[in-house]
């Protein structure tokens, strides 16, 4: 019984047969088929279940508006939920399964919901499930969640790759039907750069789905001839299988091209490509979408849009049924009858809601003018229909045409509102279109072929002329202009059965009426209360009929009732495509320091610091715990010498006559009198008076300074300096440039650091304590002429230097430093040892400079410049930043030295309850100090400096910790800085 519904003709390749599986059964189809056409060819009418009532569902459309035929496509990690069978190209070995049923598709246990439908009306869940309290979350909701949803994610990482790209063009044409192809002809002939995007895998739109003649040719022949001309144009890019899903600002269109979805295997190519198309003009030729008429049990498998019926018969050579009835409110129903008859398919009835004479009478068919279908029968698919006059008509397919909605979606993405046209009973584009967009053809409400051809050709010409190209010759081919002849008809009032509007979400006429009865009469209320139009098809078919029902309930016209807002995407786009290649280890780029390769050789363990990877510690054989690495690195540095890569600190070169004045204004402490050859610590405030960043700035010459920033703030500080320079003080002679990437910089710290450096600094440079004291800096050479900068600064509290060389020498320098340090047992140290030493020394870092603390909070009040107008000086004086109780930075050590402090713990007075009211501060950084041999912490506590020696509790309810600690100076180690100056 293979392909029992296959008929003659069509655009399929009968020479090849494709095997595919649906719910485990093997079927055959042909290249050119969609999964939907192939299922219909094989007589498979039941393809899914609806969302709420689990009613049987069949294929109802032939395109991206499909609400019913959603399948789980492919297997394993490649499985893709909610995939529209109507858009899925058939390929060899395709596997699909139906969704949303418990038990088999045919005997779904959840179909019991359908029997309960009187209770499950619109919004019923808002009125119940509240008793007893607590049952909502424990009982009702889990049950609802379990039965909700449609398809299923595999739960495994998406195995495919996705790419992103940017395209630029003069004209973007959206849609490759009659209007789009005509626009492409005129735009392409002008020489403009044109992109033609079509969501289907085959260009032509309705031209290849209908039996229309134009210019003496069939639609398909005209499309073939037109494509021959267009594909020869080098200025035109064809993009089939490409959905323009959104219109964004300034002519940018979001676009998804499906590259390998139609193949059995992706052959290592990206599955989809997300293009951003930058266009000067766009022509929307997106066609129109047909809608149903609502009547009793109009949701059974076999009920299908009339246009889709014709598409299956004409394009895919498949008849959706053996005995087809037609229900229409416009002339398309009759065109359907003609096409079916020509193909030899039995038409059992034509029921037209309009009065008047029949247009044709297919042999054997009942023709009923002014007819109403009130009910259908058939458990898993329609078997017959009943008219209001009592007549029962057999049919295994009912083709319904309720008129067409122009696809105005993209015209609304930037706030445009469509306008109602009574003559076609539909919304058409308003006048507030996205800048640069025009609309042609059915999307513009020109539902006939002649209109589409003419409008498309004209739109192409207008757009190209608009941007300076000359007009091209174009004569639309002659064709018969067919009137739509629609008489608005939305639903059969005589029906006593439920009449569906939204087939996927199970919203019926009664639901809309009930919403209105309950006060949800604004269109957005109705939508949200009933969930109409919120399914995967976003109400492409349902919205307008529902609006008509609502309009009737509220005694308003349809345009006065309004329309819901169309938002991107036009049809759903995979999240993977939006992410592209930015996932896994490629989520964000890595920044690597110049010593990275060397550190890898040393088996360093790395830590992420923003985008940077920094060596965290350098494990040695025999060590089993990270504390061993860190303790050794700290102790050896303090005992002899250690080297640490500090390249990641921001480095900003500041030059100009006014550089000193500039620094004086951006730093909160005075910089004007810094001598050449000297370095100074600098604290920078935001304009609101809160500390922004700290670092050092060295004066290399009269007009040249080098600033360092923290790693975290390198970018924002540089941006801020540019703001100050360009926007606040444009008259200053000062220039700044980031040199973070240009210099490799190492800290050489410890009592032997000078001796180590002495082995590589070229002899003409004297780095003795006298010639090069603490806070000195100089431009020197090392290793026989390699340029370098030397700064005698210390973060560790030891005699220390930072040495910078051009980045290309960075790898060489770390090797030289380690080799030169061999006699001193030099140790490379990582960020953890760096952090331990700075906490021992009491230097603030990220935990303290957290954007919430002032100079006073940090214990740096005395540093503030008295006289100058620096950034932050005015607003830092506000009372809220200066009241007595503000927590200030102090040191903490546990009374019982064997216990540990935890960063993030809060401070509570002894004997008081641990509550917010008694909260006196928090611990911001901790270290297990190998130097002091106990846990130490920095933290902020109210009235800190006056409470030196007090014992408080450090509480950490998250971990159940409650530790007594003593308030001490934050400078645990060498508080007078003697070691720095030796």
């Amino acid at each position: 019984m293979s392909q029992i519904n296959r008929i003659s003709g069509g655009l399929i390749d009968r020479d090849k047969t494709l095997n595919f599986k649906f719910d485990g059964r093997v079927f055959e189809g042909h290249p050119g088929d969609t999964l939907a056409s192939a299922l219909l060819a094989n007589g498979q009418r039941l393809v899914g279940r609806s969302f709420k009532y689990h009613r049987p569902r069949g294929i109802v459309t032939a395109g991206s508006e499909e609400p019913n035929a959603l399948v789980q496509l492919r297997r394993g990690a490649h499985q893709e939920p909610n995939t529209r069978a109507t858009e899925t190209e058939l390929f060899e070995g395709l596997e699909a399964t139906s969704q949303n049923h418990r038990g088999s598709l045919k005997y779904d246990l959840m179909a019991v919901n359908d029997l309960l439908s009187p209770f499950l009306t619109a919004g019923f869940y808002y009125k119940t499930f509240m008793w007893p309290k607590g049952f909502w979350e424990k009982v009702y909701e889990p049950a609802i969640r379990a039965s909700a949803g449609l398809g299923r994610l595999s739960g495994e990482p998406d195995p495919d790759t996705y790419d992103k790209g940017f395209l630029h063009c003069d004209i973007l044409i959206i849609g490759g039907g009659a209007a789009g192809l005509s626009a492409a002809l005129t735009a392409g002939r002008s020489g403009a750069r044109v992109i033609l995007a079509e969501e289907n895998f085959r260009m032509g739109g309705r031209l290849i789905a209908e039996t229309l003649e134009l210019g003496g040719m069939s639609g398909t022949e005209w499309v073939t001839e037109t494509l021959a001309e267009l594909t020869a144009m080098t200025n035109l890019r064809f993009m089939p299988r490409t959905t323009v899903y959104g219109a964004f600002d300034h002519g940018i269109y979001g676009t998804l091209e499906r590259m390998t979805d139609h193949l059995s295997s992706n052959e290592q190519k990206p599955r989809q490509v997300l293009w951003r198309i930058y266009s000067k003009r766009a022509i929307l030729c997106a066609g129109a979408t047909e809608r149903l008429i609502a009547f009793g049990n109009n949701d059974r498998p076999g009920v299908m849009l009339a246009g889709a019926t014709r598409a299956y018969v004409n394009r895919w050579a498949v008849t959706p049924g053996q005995r087809i009835a037609i229900f229409t409110n416009n002339n398309d129903g009759w065109r359907t009858a003609t096409d079916l008859t020509e193909k030899g398919v039995e038409v059992t009835a034509v029921v037209d809601t309009r009065d008047g004479p029949a247009r044709v009478t297919p042999s054997g068919a009942s023709v009923v003018m002014g007819g109403r279908i009130i009910d259908t029968k058939g458990r898993h698919g329609i078997r017959s229909l009943t008219l209001s006059n009592g007549q029962t008509i057999p049919a295994d397919c009912l083709a319904v045409s309720g008129g067409w909605n122009p696809n105005v979606h993209l015209t609304c993405h930037q706030g445009g509102r469509p306008v109602w046209r009574d003559d076609i009973a539909a919304f058409t584009p308003g006048d507030n279109l996205p800048v640069g967009m025009t609309v042609a053809g059915a999307a513009n409400g020109s539902l006939g072929l002649a209109g589409a051809l003419a409008e498309g050709g004209k739109a192409g010409n207008v757009a190209t002329q608009d941007i300076g190209y000359s007009r091209s010759n174009y004569t639309a081919p002659k064709t018969e202009e067919e009137a739509v002849g629609i008489s608005a008809f939305w639903y059969v009032k005589e029906s006593r059965q439920r009449s569906w509007l939204d087939l996927q979400n199970d919203v019926t006429i009664k639901d809309v009426q009930l919403a209105c009865q309950e006060g949800f009469s604004a269109v957005e209320h109705m939508k949200r209360y009933t969930t109409l139009g919120m399914a995967t098809d976003q109400g492409k078919m349902a919205n307008v009929p529902a609006l008509a029902v609502l309009a009737e309930c509220t005694n308003k016209s349809i345009p006065d009732t309004g329309t819901t807002v169309f938002r991107p995407p036009y049809s759903p786009v995979s999240i993977g495509a939006f992410a592209g290649r930015s996932r896994g280890n490629d989520f964000r780029p890595y920044r690597l320091t110049p010593s990275h390769d060397w550190a890898v050789e040393q088996s360093a363990v790395f830590v992420e610091t923003g985008m940077w990877l920094r060596a965290r510690w350098f494990p040695q054989p025999g060590e089993t715990h990270w504390r061993q690495h860190v303790d050794r690195e700290v102790l050896q540095t303090r005992k002899s010498v250690g080297v640490c890569d500090v390249t990641t600190l921001g480095k900003i070169d500041i030059q100009g006559r006014d550089a000193p004045a500039f620094l004086n204004s951006v730093y909160a402490n005075a910089f004007g009198k810094l001598a050449v050859g000297k370095v100074r610590y600098g604290l920078m405030l935001r304009e609101d008076g809160i500390a922004m960043d700290d670092g050092t700035t060295a004066r290399l010459s009269e007009k040249r300074f080098v600033m360092t920033t923290t790693t975290a703030n390198a970018v924002s500080v540089f941006r801020h300096l540019e703001f100050c320079r360009q926007c606040l003080w444009p008259g200053m002679d000062v220039h700044v440039i980031s040199a973070t990437e240009q210099f490799a910089q190492y800290s050489v710290a410890g009592p032997n650091s000078r001796r180590l450096l002495g082995r590589l600094v070229d002899p003409e440079f004297d780095i003795s304590n006298e010639a090069f004291p603490f806070m000195a800096c100089a431009e020197i050479t090392v290793c026989g002429g390699t340029p370098a900068r030397l700064f005698r600064i210390s973060f560790s509290g030891e005699l220390a230097y930072e040495i910078a060389v051009p980045t290309r020498y960075g790898d060489a320098l770390i090797r030289v430093l380690i080799a030169a340090g061999e006699p001193f047992d030099v140790v490379p140290y990582g960020t953890e040892a760096l952090s331990v030493m700075r906490i021992e020394k009491g230097h603030p870092a990220g935990g303290e400079l957290n954007g919430q603390t002032t100079a006073h909070d940090l214990g740096m009040g005395r540093l503030l410049s008295k006289s100058t107008d620096y950034i932050g000086n005015t607003l830092r004086q506000r009372p809220g930043l200066n009241f007595e109780d503000r927590p200030t930075l102090m040191g903490f050590r546990p009374v019982d030295r064997s216990t540990n402090l935890t960063a993030g713990a809060h401070i509570i007075a002894k004997g008081k309850e641990a509550t917010m009211e008694n909260d006196e501060g928090w611990i911001s950084s901790v270290a297990s100090s190998p130097t002091l041999k106990y846990s130490i912490g920095l933290g902020f506590i109210k009235r800190g400096s006056r409470r030196l020696g007090d014992v408080i509790r450090v509480v950490n309810p998250l971990k159940g910790e409650d530790v007594e600690a003593e308030i001490v100076s934050p400078h645990f180690f060498d508080p007078d800085g003697e070691r720095l100056r030796v």
């Binding site: 600002d249 300034h250 930037q414 360009q726 926007c727 606040l728 003080w729």
Partner: protein, 95 residues
């Protein structure tokens, strides 16, 4: 969005970093007796119109120019782009 940089031509918005109201150029005089009030208003009470807005953008992934962009906050249409330094100089800021 696309910002038409006065020196570099049209550039995608992702090359830029936003700051806000271009009045942030007009930093008050800290020596004024009402400096506290002026700075409060300068920093916290910014222009926030539904319509044409002059605003600062920084070409971070580009030439590091600060720009004053005139953009409609209802439509996102950009009608003017200037170098902020020129704007600041024209406003008499020449320190």
């Amino acid at each position: 969005m696309i910002i038409d940089h006065p020196l570099l031509g049209p550039r995608d918005v992702s090359e830029f970093v936003y700051l806000g109201d271009a009045s942030l150029i007009n930093r008050p005089d800290s020596q004024n007796e009402n400096a506290a009030k002026h700075f409060y208003e300068y920093l916290y009470l910014r222009e926030n119109p539904a319509g044409e807005h002059r605003e600062l953008w920084y070409h971070e992934h580009g030439d590091r120019s600060w720009l004053v962009v005139t953009r409609d906050t209802l439509t996102h249409k950009i009608t003017r782009v200037e170098l902020a330094r020129d704007t600041a100089l024209a406003a008499g800021r020449n320190k």
